[in-house]
């Protein structure tokens, strides 16, 4: 496969690829069991043995960070694919079925008016923390963004002569959607999907950091940092290493999105980003 020429796509893709490899190969990368407690080694600064130091329970931070990559990447991929699929369905429905448009889009506006993080915090805390509830709580505020995007594409495309021609020729609805509408939504969806992934990874970390995220025994970056809060003044590495990994990951996803946007459709440059 040829490497894409766009520099930020290349950078973003490489970083994510490296991270995914590390996540998969976690057991062989100088890691120990990320939940193994070694009270004797509490709050040790980074050394040759513990590259990122240890946390308040003597757990090896390097191992927790590498294993945590699994959680963050999984959340990003899962949330963005679910949000894209549901948003696509809702957007197509609202764009094509006249009487659905009004009510559905009002509900979408309603969801968008509620700050995403608050909504997610509330839902997770009331449902009990599990990987599934966190994913659902992050997906819900993202759906309207995708739905609005798809709907606007549908509304502009359905006036195109080739769509009218297809309708005039008696093309059935499923085929019309599949052959004529979907291809037009593809480029903006890929771009929006990466942005959704970036914000999902961030939101998961924030939720876990606030204590309203995935269960604390699962090693995720947010959980690692949440445990570091009390020790911040004496052991700042507990927050800094997972935090920097998180920042680099989100940066890579965002750059990938920006680059894809420039590559796939220069006209999108303004519209997608400004509605985040």
């Amino acid at each position: 496969m040829r490497l894409p020429r766009h520099p930020s796509v290349r950078f973003g893709a490489l970083v994510l690829l490296a991270l995914a490899l590390a996540a998969v190969a976690a057991p062989w990368l100088h890691t120990v069991d990320p939940v193994q407690l070694t009270p004797r080694l509490r709050l040790k600064p980074p050394t040759a043995e513990h590259w990122f130091g240890t946390d308040g329970f003597g757990r090896d931070l390097w191992s927790r960070v590498i294993y945590g990559a699994r959680i963050s990447l999984a959340i990003g991929a899962l949330v963005s694919s679910v949000a894209v699929v549901l948003g696509l369905a809702i957007g197509l429905g609202a764009g094509f079925v006249r009487w659905l448009d009004g009510p559905v889009m009002r509900v979408m506006d309603g969801i968008m008016a509620i700050p995403a993080i608050l909504l997610a915090i509330a839902m997770v805390s009331l449902n009990g923390a599990s990987l599934a509830t966190v994913a659902v709580a992050i997906v819900i505020p993202e759906i309207p963004r995708v739905a609005r995007l798809v709907r606007s594409v549908v509304l502009s495309v359905r006036e195109e002569p080739y769509v009218e021609a297809a309708v005039g020729l008696g093309t059935r609805l499923p085929r019309l959607l599949w052959r004529h509408i979907l291809p037009n939504t593809l480029a903006p969806l890929v771009v929006q999907g990466t942005y959704v992934a970036a914000s999902a990874i961030l939101t998961e970390a924030i939720l876990s950091f606030l204590g309203a995220g995935i269960p604390t025994e699962i090693p995720s970056w947010g959980n690692a940092m949440a445990e570091g809060r009390v020790y911040f003044q004496i052991a700042p590495w507990i927050i800094l290493f997972p935090g920097l990994c998180l920042a680099v990951t989100v940066l890579a996803v965002n750059l990938l999105g920006d680059g894809l946007r420039d590559m796939l459709d220069p006209r999108l440059a303004k519209s997608v980003r400004s509605f985040r």
Binding site: R106, V107, D109, G110, I111, M112, A113, I114, P115, A116, I117, L118, L119, I121, A122, M123, S125, L126, N127, G128, I140, A198, L202, A205, I206, F209, L210, G211, A212, M225, F232, Q233, P236, I239, L240, G243, L244, L246, A247, V250, L251, N254, L255, D258, A269, K270, R273, S274, F275, R276
Partner: protein
Amino acid sequence: MAIVATIVFLLLRFSAGDPAAVLAGDAATPETIAAIRTRLGLDQPMAVQLVRWFWQLLHGDLGTSIISNQGVGHLIADRMAPTLALSITTILFAILVAVPLGVVAAWKHGTIVDRAVMTFSVLGFSMPVFVLGYLWILGFAIKLRWLPVQGFSPLSDGIGPFLAHLVLPTLTLSAIYIALIARITRASVLEVLGEDYIRTARAKGVPERAVLMRHALANAAVPIVSVIGIGVALLIGGVVVTESVFNLPGLGRLTVDAVLARDYPVIQGIILVFSGVYVLVNLAVDLAYVLLDPRIRY
């Protein structure tokens, strides 16, 4: 607003962890739990609860905290000051920094200055709020000892400490907002700079500063103002996190506390208030368009 209220209510209720059980504690018998549920009206059908909550809302009553038995409106008002102070300083600071950055980046389009601003903007988007907050604390409060680490000092205790406690939270919270506004400012000024009237203005010898401020920025203002409005949603999410990092006793802390205690009425009330603020801000933004662009009429 009514739709927002309904969504908030339904999402929270369907996600039913049982607050009566939490309130009664671990040792409670099923009878106690049932009694508490009756007292709180939680045994009524969903629709009845919803209508009752709406009725109270229309009377300006946000309900009563299940845990502390205080009025939700009262609780929220108590915690308003730090949140309001932080939000205002952040918005002002962000606009003062971001708009000039964006204008300069557009003016020096394609140069190293432009690149730097855009890089900063992508970084601002990607940097998690709390990581940034801890970096500031580590640098300015722990290593340099210039500023207080955490906490809040009310305005009544003097303006100096009040501001000193707000510097780091403001720097933290405004990063993503600056990134957003600078990006839009650059894009929309860049677009305007290509217009004929800019060339005309330059040709007739209008000083470059006036071209940028009077001609370019004034015409680019509408998208900038609208993104400032949209960004308030980001800001509200960020406030919750920033207040936790810096131990500010504001609405964000109230949210986290209420969530940990599963205090439905308080969570509902806060989300509703925040959403209301968001809707109002965006309404104000819509109205501001008329001032900024005489072509827009309602």
